[in-house]
């Protein structure tokens, strides 16, 4: 029971880290970046290559992977999304799906479709919690998630750039009138989201150590679900949504059925959206005249 809960929270923490990327990009650029899941996969491959071929240590490989993904995020935004600023949201959405296929197929060309065994980066002993045993990867994941949450909250609440991001997310035109460069704010958002996706990729592959070009697709969709579940655009919402989703998934697997677990997860989402269309922590602004 306790170990299910910890595993659930740990899986949820990965979803939460990915969901943060979705929710920040949605909040600021007002688009759903469906290629976000595939950045996770790229992050996984970067960590895999840097440890297996380049001899990097665990920490350097994580940093390397974050660096590559951050650059990837910025480049994708500049080349694929920026020219569509002001275009219909459908055009942007389709482009994002296109970028997603592009990344998957590029990975297929480079690394082939054979699954790679992800190296064990966190070579730590298992931990005894009460009567049950949990892996150290699960605990590292939860700890990383907490650190990221705190850092992001500090960033958006206290720093000049973070405040500018909140201003851009509310009203782009008004933000530009304050002297805020909206385009570079959007770039920074993509950079942060993609860097986080790299972390999520490493954590995910450490817990489920098979790496394929499609590795990021399903967690990407689930994390998107988590972001909507918690209220898209809201950082605490993404966190809460991710963790709840992970816990529900693991409990559904343990007590109901492994095959049905995804169906149960999405059923819960549907119920939440019927009861509260803005998600758990989402809210609608009312305009005052």
């Amino acid at each position: 029971m306790v170990s299910y809960l910890i595993n659930g929270i740990s899986l949820g923490a990965v979803y939460a880290i990915i969901a943060l990327g979705y929710t920040m990009v949605y909040g600021i650029a007002k688009m759903l970046n469906f290629a976000h899941g595939d950045v996770i996969m790229v992050g996984g491959y970067m960590a895999y290559c840097s440890t297996s071929y380049m001899g990097f240590g665990p920490l350097t490989s994580v940093l390397f992977s974050m660096l590559v993904c951050t650059i990837l995020g910025i480049v994708v935004e500049k080349l694929a999304y920026k020219p569509l600023r002001g275009a219909s949201s459908l055009a942007v959405l389709i482009t994002a799906i296109g970028v997603s296929y592009f990344l998957q197929n590029a990975a297929l060309l480079i690394w082939s479709s054979n699954p790679k065994a992800f190296p064990n980066l966190f070579d730590l002993p298992q931990v005894q919690v009460g009567d049950s045993v949990v892996t150290s990867v699960a605990l590292v994941t939860i700890a990383s998630c907490i650190v990221i949450m705190l850092a992001l909250t500090f960033f958006t609440e206290k720093t000049k750039m973070g405040k500018a991001m909140r201003a851009v997310s509310e009203d782009r035109g008004a933000a530009a009138l304050m002297g805020i460069n909206v385009n570079s704010t959007i770039s920074v958002t993509f950079a942060i989201g993609s860097g986080l996706a790299a972390v999520a990729g490493v954590l995910l592959c450490s817990a489920y150590p098979t790496l394929m070009p499609t590795t990021g697709a399903m967690p990407g969709i689930k994390a998107f679900t988590a972001a909507v579940f918690g209220g898209i655009g809201s950082i605490p919402g993404a966190m809460l949504g991710g963790i709840l989703l992970g816990v529900i998934e693991i409990f559904a697997k343990a007590y109901v059925s492994t095959q049905l677990s995804d169906a149960i997860v999405f059923a819960v989402l549907i119920v939440v959206l019927i009861v509260k269309p803005t998600g758990l922590l989402g809210r609608k602004l009312t305009e005052k005249v």
């Binding site: 035109g173 008004a174 933000a175 530009a176 009138l177």
Partner: protein, 236 residues
């Protein structure tokens, strides 16, 4: 008197609609210049184009002797131009103080505290409520916040788009008093208003816009007495 703003033969399109058809006007240092006109005459479009939010199809805009035609809005703030937009558009989810800080985004952090004090002095209400989420302020307070936020960039030219919109008459008077005071303290002002009576009474000079063209101009006093202006905008 040196020219702060000089707009010449400005043409702006919204898609295929020719919204501004050759507007020319200027604002001198220390003046309050107002653009009046009916709904849809192109007043806001003119301001938004000057502020860099819209790109003109033709014409030139000069600010402090430098051509700024086609320069993006966020770069113009640093040059000393500020637009307090129609409908206030404060950041509802940010606090009052954070809104004001955003106004000073392009200035060095060290100078912000002094400007905050200056704005708080001008608008004591904002000081009382500096921690409050801006969306919870009343309409009048939100307008003061929007103006305070514009002042935080220490503009050489402050443009105000319909600052009296949706406010109770007593608040409208208060807002216009504040505009006059700001001007006396040295800020050059370009004001767009539907409330022509109030606008003309504080303006040094005024331009009347009709369907994208300037039809009359002159001192505020002269236009207040002008028969056609009275009939069209001042209720006879």
């Amino acid at each position: 008197m040196s020219k702060v703003l000089k707009v010449e033969d400005l043409h702006v399109y919204y898609g295929s609609i020719h919204a501004i058809k050759g507007v020319s006007f200027e604002v001198n240092e220390g003046e309050i210049v107002t653009l009046i006109g009916a709904n849809g005459a192109g007043k806001s479009t003119t301001l938004n184009t000057v502020a860099g939010l819209l790109k003109p199809a033709k014409g030139s805009i000069e600010f402090k002797g430098e051509s700024i035609t086609g320069i993006e809005a966020h770069k113009l703030v640093k040059k000393g131009m500020s637009l307090c937009p129609e409908g206030r558009r404060i950041f509802q989810e940010l606090t009052v103080k954070e809104n004001l800080e955003m106004g000073a985004y392009s200035r060095p952090t060290a100078e912000i505290a002094a400007s905050l004090d200056m704005v708080y002095e001008q608008f004591p209400r904002l000081k009382e409520r500096y921690k409050q989420i801006a969306g919870t302020l009343s309409g009048g307070e939100q307008q003061m916040l929007a103006m305070g936020r514009s002042l935080m960039s220490k503009p050489d030219l402050m443009m105000l788009d319909e600052p009296s919109m949706g406010l109770a008459p007593i608040l409208v008077e208060q807002i216009f008093e504040i505009i006059s005071t700001l001007n006396k303290n040295g800020t050059t002002i370009l004001l767009v208003e539907q409330n022509a009576q109030m606008a003309l009474s504080i303006a040094s000079r005024a331009y009347v816009l009709e369907t994208g063209r300037i039809v009359t101009s002159g001192t505020g006093e002269k236009l207040l007495k002008d028969d056609s202006v009275r009939k069209a905008y001042l209720g006879g």
